[in-house]
């Protein structure tokens, strides 16, 4: 794997470690941390703050017998289900979002495919599949978009993004990512607002496609 050159900014790593990121972004950040030792180390440093705070909390008295109840449960409580594992190009947090299944792509036209992993009023999380040389339809954002490359690469006005790289696009960025030659580009994208496409789809159709 070539070196990762676009990382998660510190403030998002911190928000993730403190448990403050909305779900859609947390998946992208966790996926990057699963691919990037540097950011993972930073996240673990941030968690030391959480640990230090836990240590200095004034204890709250537990009910009588709490400790015996726990010790008695050690043998009887079922162990937790096995943690999700990486499969192919998809790191564990993406497999978790996929419920352990391979992607079920939907055609968007122009050879572009997507699978919406989750979408609600808070935004969306989806996988995108973009054939080499194809542009992702031009769009602007209402909020923040985080895009993590899992296979291939894309480039846009902000640079070239290869496997493991994350692009952070804010409100005002009208970028037009184009998949680089080679393998199709597969990426994971989270937004905190529905995307508004400027050219590709009429706005009215957006709810149908959940994009």
């Amino acid at each position: 794997m070539s070196a990762i050159s676009h990382h998660i900014p510190d403030h998002l790593i911190r928000a993730h470690a403190a448990g403050q990121l909305p779900h859609h972004f947390a998946v992208v950040v966790a996926a990057h941390l699963s691919m990037c030792d540097a950011c993972r180390a930073q996240a673990e440093a941030e968690e030391m703050v959480g640990g230090a705070l836990l240590d200095r909390l004034a204890p709250a008295a537990l009910q009588d017998g709490a400790r015996d109840r726990l010790l008695a449960a050690l043998d009887s409580a079922p162990p937790p289900p096995p943690a999700p594992r990486r499969s192919g190009i998809f790191p564990a947090p993406v497999m978790q979002a996929l419920d352990g299944q391979p992607p079920r792509w939907r055609m968007l036209g122009g050879g572009i495919r997507q699978q919406v992993l989750s979408a609600d009023e808070d935004g969306s999380l989806r996988l995108l599949y973009i054939p080499p040389g194809r542009a992702v339809p031009e769009h602007g954002h209402n909020g923040l978009e985080l895009t993590l490359v899992l296979q291939g690469a894309f480039s846009d006005s902000e640079g070239r993004f290869g496997v493991g790289d994350v692009e952070l696009a804010e409100d005002d960025l009208d970028h037009q990512p184009v998949a680089c030659p080679g393998a199709p580009c597969i990426c994971l994208a989270a937004t905190d607002a529905p995307l508004r496409f400027t050219a590709f789809l009429p706005r009215l159709l957006q709810p149908l496609f959940r994009i």
Binding site: E47, L62, L74, A83, D192
Partner: protein, 186 residues
């Protein structure tokens, strides 16, 4: 509080649980963290009864997941904090928190004493830095790490997850981070 090899007592207990399934050490972990976890969960808005149940859940997870604990990368308190925070988020969101991929340690890895000591030293500096903060700063940081749950959206203009009231947190933590960065190897 720390042993000659640099481990805090709770970290030693957790290693004993990991390597020997040591129940006495686990009971000590519970005595130390149980009441603190309950305090954290109460701050997060749980009622007393539910907080008790979640403390049990979290400590059972500690028992079952102990094999993943790596003292080169975390002290017991940070590792247990992560489990508890994820559980807190599960309950609020009603869906499982996102978990990181487990790292596979090469078999037969010997403990790396300098790394462990360096981590212990950083942790000491971090605790000292927390001690030097104003009480309201500590409170603001505690609120971020233990109470506030994920917002439905993060600030639209800057992407910063920490809003106005929380600028204080960032300053406090930035200061913490600079403290850590200024560490000189001994």
């Amino acid at each position: 509080m720390t042993t000659p090899d640099g481990f805090t007592e709770p970290t030693q207990w957790l290693i004993a649980v990991r390597d020997r399934r040591d129940r006495a050490a686990f009971a000590r972990l519970f005595d130390h963290f149980g009441p603190r976890l309950k305090a954290m969960l109460l701050r997060g808005g749980l009622r007393d009864g539910s907080a008790e149940d979640v403390v049990q859940d979290v400590m059972l997870a500690v028992w079952h997941k102990a094999a993943q604990f790596d003292p080169h990368r975390a002290e017991a308190s940070a590792w247990i904090y992560r489990i508890a925070r994820n559980r807190q988020i599960d309950l609020v969101r009603r869906r499982p928190a996102v978990v990181l991929e487990e790292l596979e340690e090469p078999p037969g890895n010997e403990p790396d004493a300098p790394q462990i000591l360096a981590l212990a030293q950083e942790a000491r500096h971090l605790r000292a830095a927390l001690d030097r903060l104003a009480p309201e700063q500590v409170q603001a940081i505690q609120k971020a790490y233990m109470e506030d749950m994920p917002h439905s959206e993060i600030s639209r203009t800057t992407g910063l997850p920490l809003g106005t009231i929380k600028s204080r947190i960032r300053l406090g933590l930035e200061r913490l981070r600079h403290e850590l960065k200024d560490l000189k190897p001994e």
